[in-house]
Structures are given as C-alpha cells and as structure tokens.
Amino acid sequence: MNPILRVQNVSKRFGGVEALKDVSLEVKRGSVTGLIGPNGSGKSTLFNVITGFYKPDFGSVYFEGKRIDGLNPDEIYNMGIARTFQTPRLFGPLTTLENMMLSPKGQRGESLLRAPLRKTWLNEEMQIANEVKSLLKEFDMDGLYKMLASDLSGGHVKMVETSKGILGRAKLILLDEPTAGVHYAVGKNLFEHINYLRKAYNLTFFIIEHRIDLLFDYVDYVYVLHMGRLLSEGTPEEVASDPKVIEAYIGGA
C-alpha cells in the first residue's frame, strides 16, 4: 500500500543551524508512527515543514501522492492533515464546544456574506454540534461543553486537541509531544485514546514523543532524528536495540 505521507530529501536551515539534513521518511496509512530524538534534533521543524509553516530549502513532501510543500498551513489542513503543538494551543476564552466547532472545514456560516443569513448555515451548525456532542461523549467530556478551554484540566486539553482533527475530517494527525506535562497515567490513557481513535475513525497518527517507554507500547514504526539527520528507523524493538540510538541518547546532543 502506498504511504499516506512521504518526506523526500528534505533539508531546512536557520542561519547557521541545519535543523534538517536530507531527511526522507514515510508514514504508512493506518499506522501509528513515532518520531523521537534528543532535544533540538529537528522533530518540530519537520512537523512545521510538513504542515506548511516552513518551506523546505530542498526536498519535497507528498500527502496521498500530491505534493504539498509550498502550500499554506490552512490549505494543508483542508487537504486532511491536522496537527497539535508542543504547547497546547486551544482558544482559551472560547468554550470547549466553540473550540471543537471551529474544526470542521469549509463551514458555510464562516463566510462573511452568508454569516448574517442564519437560514443558510443553521442546519449545518446543528449537525456539527451533534457530531461534537457524540465525540465528546466518547471520552466522557460532554458535560464540559460550556467550560472555557482555559479552565480545562491538562488531560482534558490534550483529549480535545488530539480528537478535534476528526471533526475536520483529517486523515493524518500529527501530535507534537502529546503527553508533555501530564501525569504518566494520564499519558497512558491518552495513548489508549489515540489507539481507539485510529481504529474507530481510520486515522493515521504521526507522533513526536519524549516518553519513549509509553510511545513504544503503541507505535508500529519509529524514526529517530539526531542533529537534523535520520539516525535510525524500524519497529520499536529494532530501534530500542540499535547501538547508534543508544549512543545518541546517552551521549546527549
């Protein structure tokens, strides 16, 4: 089966820093793929290149066979790639419901011309709200619909962030350190949730994670970045026993 995401010979430098050097990798459709590496190894930069925040200096990115490097972030989202950031970025003063209702793409009521004409979008709006409700119910959060995102607990924020891509009909979801800043048990729960979502919604996940112990229980395949280069790849077992990886982690960057 052809991969859902293909990164080909991507390089990116910031002044003197070579954040990515000739990185090539593939993410299989339906997989949970991990991306690990010491701090500053270029993981977030790779995500930023994939989602259109940075244009690569060299190389190209393909999503479902279509070339996407050079597109803007909003265009890439509309093609079906959702992402989260290393620090949570929900819209604080908006409610959980409002936060989730922002995710579906191309809503009629979001156009300046149609917005004042309630009739043209109210149906769609209610449909989306229904969908949000049933999604929130799946992880027992429907009671929190009117809580402001800034008042949600860390675990709930992560739940909302990882799930809301589903409302946007994302096919591939990129998570940048989803368990950062939450308790081990919450992190475990989150990975269970991710696993559930993948099966229930036919999703593909590509996950940056520092908690390798957690990650390795749930991923099918892992890539290791080190100083901007792809150092190793394989199943969790293969990577865990690769001396180069151990060296990179113990040697420190």
Partner: protein, 380 residues
Amino acid sequence: MFDISSFLISWLPLFGIYAILSLCLNMEVGYAGMANFGLVAFYGIGAFVAGYTSITIFLTFHGYNYPIYSQEAIIAMGKVAGKTPWLNISVFILSLILSFLIAGLAGYLVSYPTLRVGPAFLGITILSFGEMLRVFMKHFAPTGGAYGMLGIPHPFAWIPDSAIKNISFLILTLAILILVLIYFELLANSPYGRVLKSIREDEIASLCIGKPVPQIKARLLFVASGISGVAGALYAFYLGAVTPDMFITAVTFEVWSMVILGGRGNNFGALLGASFFSLLNRATSILNFLFSDLPIDPNYVRWMITGALIVIILMYKPKGVIAEKPIKTEAWKIFGAYGESRRKLIAAILKIIDYLRRAFYWLIGRETGYEPDIKGSKRE
C-alpha cells in the same frame, strides 16, 4: 438656558456617528484582534468623498463651474442647496455608497501587505497612513487644502423648519446605526464570529485548522473600514463642512476608549462606550460654552477623565463594563442547555420580583415584608 430636546438633537447624531465607529472598531479589535490604530483615516476618507461628491454634483447640475472650495461655490451652494429635494436625497445616498466603497477599498489595500505579519505592523502602518493622508489633504488643492470644503448640501436642506430638518437627520443616522448594529450582531453570533475570535486568540492555531486568516482579515477590514467611511460621510453632512484637521489621530483613540470602556468583543459594550464618551464630549463643550471664564479648559479635563477612566476600567474590569459572551448560534441547544437557560431566566425574574417586593415594603412601611425566621430561631 438648557432644554432637553435641543440637547438631544445636538447629541444624538454625534452619538450615532461615534457608535457606528466604535461598532466597526469593536469588530476589528474586539472580535478579530486587529489593532486598527488608523480608524480615523477611513472615517476621514468617507467624509471627504461625501463632501467632494455632493458639492461637485450640485454645482455641475446647476451649471456652475467654480472650483468647489472657492467662495463663489460656497455662495452658490447656499442658494441651490434647498431647491431640489430629490437631488439632495439621491446625492446623499450616492455619497454614502461611494464613501463605503472607497474607504473600504483603502482599508483593504493599506492593510493587505501587513496581514501576514503580526498585529503591531498593521496598527503602525494604518496609524501612519492616517497621519500621512491628513497632511497630504492639507496641501491638496482640489479639496480645498487646509480649509477643506464648505457648503456640503444637507440631505434635508429643502425642509424649511430647521428643527424638523435636524430631527429627520437624527432619525436617519440612528436608523443607519441600528442597521449596522443588527448586521454586526448577526455576524458576531455566527460561525464567522467564532472564526474571528479564534484569530484574535491565536492566529497560528486558527491557520492550522484551515482558516485563511489573511484573507478573512482583509475582507473584514474592507467591510469595517467601509462602514467607518459611511460614518464619516454622515459627519460631513451633519456639519456641512470638512477640513483635514477634523481627522487627527486623537479621534482614533477616542473610539478606542469607547471600545475599551464598554467591553471588547461585545457590540452593546461598544454602544455603551460610545454613548458615554459622546456625552462627556457634549458636556465639556456645553460647560465651555456656558462658563467661558473657567480656570481650566473643560476639553482638557475631558482627556484627563478619559485617561483616568481607562486606567480604572483596566484595573477593575479588564474586560470592559459589558464583558464578552460566548457566541449564540444555538449549537448549545444540542447539549440540552436550552431548558437550563430558561430555568435561569425564570429564577432571575423571580429574584427581580422579590427585590421589587422588598423595595415596595421598604418604601411604604420601612419593613422588608419578611416574616422573622421563626423555625430557625426555635431550633436554637
């Protein structure tokens, strides 16, 4: 010495104009988080477009070809302004439309290059645009340079009774204000309003969920600047004259004060702010007029009060007097919140009735009307 109706006639049109401006600014700043420090530019463009269009059409129609700012033109305008009601009305409508389009286009063009970078760039760019435009207009002969244009034909100049003329204009202004308010309330309480708020909170995150942020901002600036232009046109017709120095940067910050005081992200807050500051404005002018030998110019006091109020508001009510509310698209009904909010409403009404009852008893008998809590005291 002071009668309420003439006060209202002098205050309400200004309130209407300022309220339209503060609603526009609230859309930009309160909802979308765009720091528009150059609102006055679009207001001024609207005023100049209206003045220029209306005088030119009138002079041409009546067969004069004086330059529009010349003494002869002003005298001629005085003669012909009240002769042709249909022309007054149609010129008025045409001027509003042109003001909307030209001010809107200016907003779109000026802001477009800066929308992809942070909000500060937009603010500074428009701020300097406004100042440059004002200085330019002071030296631009075709619109009268620093003296501007006089004799702008009032849309109701053909009504002989000046009170009726003024009241008609007042009603027209308030009607436009109400239309703008309804339009913005509809915009705000829609998925579009939700997107604006997401942009205000985090542009990057909004971009990441597929919202074309630069485009959304540019279009909003078109609409809001255009409506600010309409406010400018109304102002020009209200005063019958425009000069570049009416559009100094302080006007922008006066409208900012209205929005900050009233409550960002809430259209009714913007209205409240506009009514408060336009009242303060009138009050100081009246003081100035009534007591010409005050030790200190009330206009300065006005700015001091404005400054002090903003500090106080930001300290004690950082969200403004009327704080922002979640948008109302009825999506929450799905969660069964409908009944809940109705219960809350009923409880609130009961509470108000209770207060009224207590107030009533207090007034007639100086008693609360409550029985002493016998059960409670017995148990003790």
